[in-house]
């Protein structure tokens, strides 16, 4: 005896708690037979009626879950948000941490750039492990219906609303990076200017004599400008004090630069040996003038721009 009804009952009862299995089986069988009888009484073919009734009852796993009051979800609304928060938290730093440690260890063993591969693989494996074990833990919690004290939400947990900053972080970062690169360029051009003399030695772009005072002074001004940019970001908006300090620093950089350019002390005289065009005094004066005018234009534009911003944000 292996009718569709028998198979349906077996499939349903498979996942129903044992102690009630027989009773549910008897009742369900009677109900199915009642439903079939009702249809055959109306003149339907018994086999077709059986098929129709079982189709109406639907997937036996769903029916069994309803009998057992079992949840058809891996992690339900009770734990979902907690699960998601923990998952994000753990994935946000553990894989990166493990990956970095593995990369450093491999690099210490002399693998060089080859150390990156094992680091990435380790990070990915850790991420998969975290996701699996965390999800498994919550799926078990969901099924055992253990009462876990999920902390009640309170208004104190509300994060600060994002403040509209007058000074975007991206602007600050860009300014600081520009200043740092400029500072770095000054010593770099001295040792490695990519301009080579006739016998292959390095020719600095700027006059090495300037290192006695002017170049260190300009580096100090640039470093001070970088500090002002960071302070400005922390204050989060323009003030006239910041504008004033920044204007003084701009001029402290631009005015010496212009003066050195105009008095032909900026560029390395040795460049004239390499580029014959620079050997002529007239040409050097023209170049100095161009540099001075360019610097002046940038400073004026910067002063106007920041004055407008300050005026708008202090109004």
């Amino acid at each position: 005896m292996n009718t569709l009804t028998d198979r349906y009952l077996a499939a349903t009862l498979r996942s129903v708690p044992t102690q009630r299995r027989d009773e549910i089986a008897n009742e369900l069988r009677a109900s199915i037979e009642d439903m079939i009888d009702d249809r055959t009484g109306g003149g339907a073919d018994p086999a077709a009626a059986e098929r129709e009734v079982l189709t109406e009852l639907g997937n036996p796993d769903v029916l069994a879950a309803r009998y057992a009051d079992r949840r058809l979800q891996l992690i339900g609304p009770t734990y979902y948000l907690l699960w998601l928060r923990l998952l994000k938290l753990l994935l946000s730093f553990i894989p990166a941490l493990v990956g970095t440690v593995v990369t450093v260890v491999e690099a210490a063993e002399g693998k060089g750039f080859g150390a990156i591969g094992p680091g990435v693989v380790a990070a990915m494996q850790v991420a998969v492990q975290i996701a699996f074990w965390l999800t498994l833990t919550f799926a078990i919690l969901e099924r055992t219906q253990t009462a876990v004290d999920v902390p009640e939400w309170t208004v104190d947990q509300l994060p600060d609303a994002p403040v509209r900053r007058g000074i975007p972080l991206a602007d600050t970062i860009a300014s600081v990076i520009m200043l740092v690169l400029t500072i770095a360029y000054l010593p770099l051009q001295h040792y490695h200017s990519w301009v080579r003399g006739t016998d292959g030695e390095n020719i600095p772009i700027l006059d090495p004599a300037l290192w006695s005072f002017w170049l260190p002074a300009l580096i100090v001004v640039l470093a001070a400008s970088a500090v002002v940019e960071i302070v400005k970001y922390r204050i989060a908006h323009w003030t006239w004090t910041i504008f004033g300090i920044r204007a003084v620093l701009s001029l402290a950089f631009a005015v010496p630069l212009m003066w050195l350019a105009l008095s032909d002390r900026l560029l390395n005289p040795a460049l004239g040996e390499r580029f014959s065009w620079l050997a002529e005094a007239d040409n050097r004066d023209s170049l100095g003038l161009a540099i001075a005018v360019g610097a002046a234009a940038i400073v004026v534009w910067d002063l106007v721009d920041t004055a407008v911003k300050t005026r708008r944000q202090t109004a």
Binding site: L57, R66, Y67
Partner: protein
């Protein structure tokens, strides 16, 4: 025009709780699963068999229904009946259903409670 799916979802939501009320009322007179299904259906409470049968068991587990096997007829059937506990809970549910109806009527007519 409201989509059929949205309408069906809302009707389902609206009807969900009433199946329990209707079953408790109907089972003041003892009956077995399929006969109850038909009676509910005749009285305008169409219920799916795969919803009703597990529901009856759950209500029994909660002590709102009592059951008894009847073996006198051609096939043994489990008869359910609303228990005293079920009756008192039913009264609470009926009161609430009436209160919902009153509130809705009041809201429609714009009368303050």
């Amino acid at each position: 025009m409201v989509s059929e799916d949205v309408l069906r979802t809302h009707l389902q939501e609206l009807r969900r709780g009433t199946v329990v009320v209707a079953s408790l009322v109907a089972l003041r007179r003892p009956d077995y699963g399929y006969a109850l299904l038909q009676r509910l259906s005749d009285h305008g409470f169409p219920v799916d068999a795969n919803t009703l049968y597990p529901l009856l068991r759950r209500l029994e587990d909660q002590g709102l229904l009592t059951s008894e096997w009847n073996t006198e007829e051609s096939r043994p059937r489990k008869f359910y009946r609303t228990s005293d506990e079920g009756e008192s809970m039913l009264n609470r549910l009926l009161d609430d259903l009436a209160a919902v109806q009153t509130s809705i009527t009041g809201l429609i007519q714009g009368v303050d409670r």
